[in-house]
């Protein structure tokens, strides 16, 4: 029988409730993040479509939709980049620093 883990040579990883809960939370977080990204994509598509639908009635409203779309894309991009950089370099390595900052 071919084993995918050699229990003779290696100590199996110690699993406890805390580890399992962490894994569960991580998976939930990934799922939720993917759903939120999908939702944000849909909202951006909404804005672009609405710009085209509304333009024959009011060009200003159509342009406003496109400007809003551009601003939200740029804003979320900037926030995501800053957060990813700061989170990975500072807060993730120093648990508790978020609390220290009052967040």
């Amino acid at each position: 029988m071919k084993l995918n883990y050699d229990f003779e040579s290696y100590q199996p990883p110690r699993m406890n409730e805390k580890n399992l809960m962490e894994t569960l939370h991580n998976r939930q977080l990934i799922k939720r993040t993917v759903l939120l990204v999908l939702a944000s994509l849909l909202i951006n598509i909404c804005m672009a479509l609405m710009a085209f639908v509304i333009a024959p009635y009011s060009m200003e409203a159509g342009i406003a939709c496109l400007v809003l779309l551009g601003l939200s894309l740029a804003g979320s991009g900037i926030i995501a980049v800053i957060f990813a950089r700061e989170w990975s370099t500072h807060y993730r390595s120093k648990p508790g620093s978020i609390i220290a900052l009052g967040l």
């Binding site: 759903l35 944000s40 598509i45 979320s76 926030i79 967040l103």
Partner: protein, 402 residues
């Protein structure tokens, strides 16, 4: 903006930028309070940051904060703490299972469902609306003419209508006729004669159209602008042809103000069929204009040259830089475009519009272009001379017959 369109526009914006963020804000505020985080700050971040990036960041950051609460004072506690730092109550081991987490995840699940489904429904609605709007409806003005009343002397329907209108006093009267739909069902031709009784000064008449939109029917707007001059050599009747996929809603404006009018509908054809095959030199010469910017004058001249009979068209005036150009773009045509000789019509336009530099006639991907210089070379004299002398125009027409 149309009222229904405006209502839908603001409803969609309201749902996307008020309802969903408020829903998220309430969840984040409650959750952050439970975890002992700065609830106000995180609520603001989650609500104000665009495209849910604030909520995503909150979900990541909150994993560092427990949901354990003191059973006595609801103070957020760390799992390793034995005593509540706020009230001093000993923390029982049992509560570290976090009893409230299941309910909160359900709330988040509902929010995630809402933020996916609501935009998805809006996208579907907008795609359906956009598809219907773009594919099934159109409208275009075929021709617009100012006509003397005498031109309709032989048309009993029109003369009877004029007599009735005269009896009713001053005002704006419209005689409408709808032709049967074309065999290929590409649209219907609507003909109108507008009569403004009681006109005492010269007017400029223009016509605008609006294709059927997502929330509106197609519209045809005739606009009278009083020029203020006493002499009234211009016409009292204006005839308009309009091609559309649905019956246009008529509106009449005088000096920018919408006015009432009385409409009569007839089953009989009401418009004269245009000009004789070899254009009437007198009428053509009288239709000549100084400037390409005279929109209604250009359309009148296009009709006078017979180009309006080729098919449905729109015009573009290229007046941003010299040489000024007139583009006639056909959306349908009744003749074989490739073998039709437009040179005589284009020469007439170049001669009768003083500052016109070139004429461009387009149907689909085929384009015919003639410049003033090329026209002068064909004629062996300056094409603009056609607009200076009626005799010259007569001479040119005779040469065409020869």
């Amino acid at each position: 903006m149309n009222m229904i369109a405006g209502l839908l526009y603001f409803s969609i914006l309201g749902v996307l930028f008020i309802f969903i963020p408020v829903m998220i804000g309430i969840y984040v505020y409650r959750d952050a309070t439970t975890r002992g985080m700065n609830a106000t700050l995180w609520t603001l971040i989650a609500v104000l940051a665009p495209t849910f990036i604030g909520l995503i960041i909150y979900l990541i950051v909150r994993t560092d904060h427990t949901t354990f609460q003191c059973p006595k004072c609801n103070q957020a506690l760390d799992a390793s703490w034995e005593i509540c730092p706020k009230c001093g109550e000993r923390v029982p081991e049992g509560i570290k299972i976090s009893p409230g987490i299941g309910q909160k995840d359900k709330d988040l699940g509902k929010i995630l469902l809402a933020v996916i489904l609501i935009p998805l429904l809006i996208v579907i609605l907008l795609i359906i609306g956009l598809f219907n709007f773009r594919t099934t409806n159109y409208g275009s003005i075929g021709s617009v003419d100012g006509m003397p009343i005498e031109d309709f002397a032989d048309n009993k329907v029109v003369t009877d209508w004029l007599d009735n209108s005269d009896a009713q006093g001053n005002g704006i009267y419209v005689l409408a006729h709808q032709e049967a739909a074309t065999a290929d069902n590409s649209g219907t031709k609507y003909s109108y004669i507008f009569y403004r009784k009681g006109l005492t000064s010269s007017v400029d008449v223009s016509v605008d159209d609006a294709s059927k939109g997502l929330f509106t029917n197609s519209a045809l707007q005739i606009k009278y602008t009083d020029m203020g001059t006493i002499t009234t050599s211009n016409y009292h009747l204006n005839q308009v042809e309009y091609f559309a996929s649905d019956a246009p809603k008529l509106a009449v404006y005088v000096n920018g103000n919408k006015v009432d009018f009385i409409q009569t509908t007839t089953n009989e054809p009401i418009l004269s069929d245009g000009l004789p095959p070899l254009n009437d030199a007198r009428k053509l010469f009288e239709s000549r204009i100084e400037y390409l910017g005279d929109n209604s004058g250009v359309i009148r001249l296009i009709d006078a040259t017979g180009l309006s009979q080729v098919g449905q068209y729109t015009i573009e005036l290229k007046t941003s830089e010299e040489p000024y150009g007139l583009c006639i773009i056909y959306s349908t045509n009744t003749k074989e475009f490739g073998i039709t000789d437009f040179s005589s019509n284009a020469i007439e336009l170049l001669g009768l519009i003083k500052n016109l530099g070139y004429v461009e006639i387009t149907y689909g991907e085929q384009t015919y272009t003639l410049t003033s210089k090329e026209a002068s070379e064909i004629l062996d004299f300056d094409v603009k001379e056609l607009g200076m002398s009626k005799d010259k125009l007569d001479e040119y027409h005779k040469s065409l017959i020869d």
